[in-house]
């Protein structure tokens, strides 16, 4: 039997995932990390991106997080996301629209908008789209 680790993914609004997994991939601030059972304790900030939970050899689940924190204990992985959505629930049209709006805001020369906010929004929308893309390629 393969070793498993307990994984909890919660966002400020709800519990998104809770269960055992063989491996977890998360977009830590210094690059993507893969966590197997009995990993050393770790705390890291998360970038917007995709969290992948490999539940078994055949099955893995993908989530989109907009940033947050990752805590690893040898027997436990906790992801505190600002917002987390199951990847298949991401609305592609909405993400595209958000991306367009953010780009427009960035190009707006009137200088009324907050540059940093617009850039963050753009990054989020792009990460959502990338998550969808990867999901499609994997043939879900």
């Amino acid at each position: 039997m393969t070793m498993t680790v307990h994984v909890d993914i919660v966002s400020a609004e709800q519990e998104v995932f809770s269960g055992m997994a063989e491996m977890v991939f998360a977009p830590a601030e210094l690059g993507e990390v893969g966590i197997t059972p009995r990993h050393a304790p770790l705390i890291s900030k998360l970038n917007p991106g995709e969290v992948r939970v490999k539940v078994s050899e055949k099955e893995s689940q993908a989530f989109y997080v907009s940033g947050g924190l990752l805590e690893v204990q040898p027997h436990l992985v906790t992801i505190l996301a600002d917002t987390a959505i199951r990847a298949k629930d991401i609305d592609e049209a909405a993400a595209l629209q958000a991306k367009a709006a953010a780009e427009e805001a960035l190009n707006d020369k009137s200088g009324k908008i907050d540059y940093a906010t617009a850039q963050a929004q753009l990054a989020q929308a792009m990460m959502q789209l990338r998550t969808i893309d990867r999901l499609k390629k994997r043939g879900h």
Binding site: E13, E29, S44, L69, P74, L80
Partner: protein, 288 residues
């Protein structure tokens, strides 16, 4: 027939009151459902973050964050979360009583207190006390937002960093079930290393931090405090609605009892008047 006019008006006015309390009961019941949903939605997050903080308190980090270090207590800060409106039974007074008890205890140990209040009831209660008030927010409504309480949290955290206060506590009503609300005092900082369930942690260990300890811990601890205060706020909200529902239900029931009693008195008086009238007529007829 002019019998029992006063009683009839009294019954009518109690009936009006009963209508109002019944309406309030139903409004509170439907609001309670919504606030309870909101509370349950945010519970997993605050539970998990408390768990992480508990782990953290047991780690042996090389970087000691000020929020993790206990120091001699000369002055404490408290955040008291109360409701904006009354008519919710003993909800606020129970919390204030518990808070006052704690305040006297601190007073006996020569510890000063800074108070921040959330909600109008707390503001007016502590407004009448001789106590140092440093901040207040009220009128948050049924859907409070985190950024509405960030201000008072910042006041307290700044005071802690500056060394003005040495501990921070939060007081709120914890939602147990619809009938029971438990007034709760929770210490936020410094983080107390409570007894950890035996989950196989080694004695001396530390986290790996990415990108670096100070930044991550700052971020995590601020988030923790905000999440606990916000959780207290939504719990208190759910408590308020359920307490109001129960209070209004018993008020409606009492009004019903009162009406029954008055109706009985009124009927007796009316009967007596009729009997008297008849006997007068009979007596008059007999005299002719």
């Amino acid at each position: 027939m002019a019998v029992g006019k006063e009683i009839r008006t009294q019954i009518a006015s109690i009936k009006n009151t009963q209508k109002i309390t019944r309406a309030m009961e139903m409004v509170a019941a439907s609001k309670m459902r919504k606030t309870k949903d909101r509370m349950n939605a945010t519970r997993p997050y605050s539970k998990k973050i408390s768990q992480i903080i508990k782990h953290l308190a047991h780690a042996n980090p090389e970087y000691k964050h000020p929020f993790l270090v206990e120091r001699e207590v000369k002055r404490v800060g408290i955040i008291v979360i109360s409701s904006d409106r009354g008519l919710c039974g003993g909800l606020n007074s129970n919390l204030f009583r518990k808070t006052l008890k704690q305040l006297t205890q601190w007073d006996n140990n020569n510890i000063d207190v800074d108070v921040c209040t959330v909600g109008s009831k707390g503001a007016s209660f502590f407004g009448s006390l001789k106590i140092n008030k440093v901040g207040q927010v009220s009128k948050l409504g049924d859907t409070p937002h985190l950024n509405e309480v960030v201000g008072i949290i910042k006041i307290m955290l700044d005071a802690y960093h500056a060394g003005t206060i040495d501990e921070l506590h939060v007081m709120y009503n914890q939602f147990v079930n619809t009938m029971t609300q438990a007034p709760t005092i929770e210490q936020l900082i410094p983080v107390v290393a409570s007894e950890l369930e035996n989950d196989g942690l080694k004695k001396h260990w530390d986290y790996l931090y990415e990108p670096d300890a100070k930044e991550v811990l700052d971020n995590l601890l601020t988030r923790y405090i905000e999440s606990i205060v916000y959780q207290g706020l939504v719990e208190n909200n759910a408590c308020e609605q359920s307490a109001r529902m129960v209070a209004m239900k018993s008020a409606s029931d009492n009004a019903g009892n009162l009406i029954d009693e008055l109706q009985l008195v009124y009927n007796k008086a009316r009967q007596a008047a009729i009997t008297q009238e008849i006997s007068e007529i009979v007596a008059g007829a007999a005299a002719v």
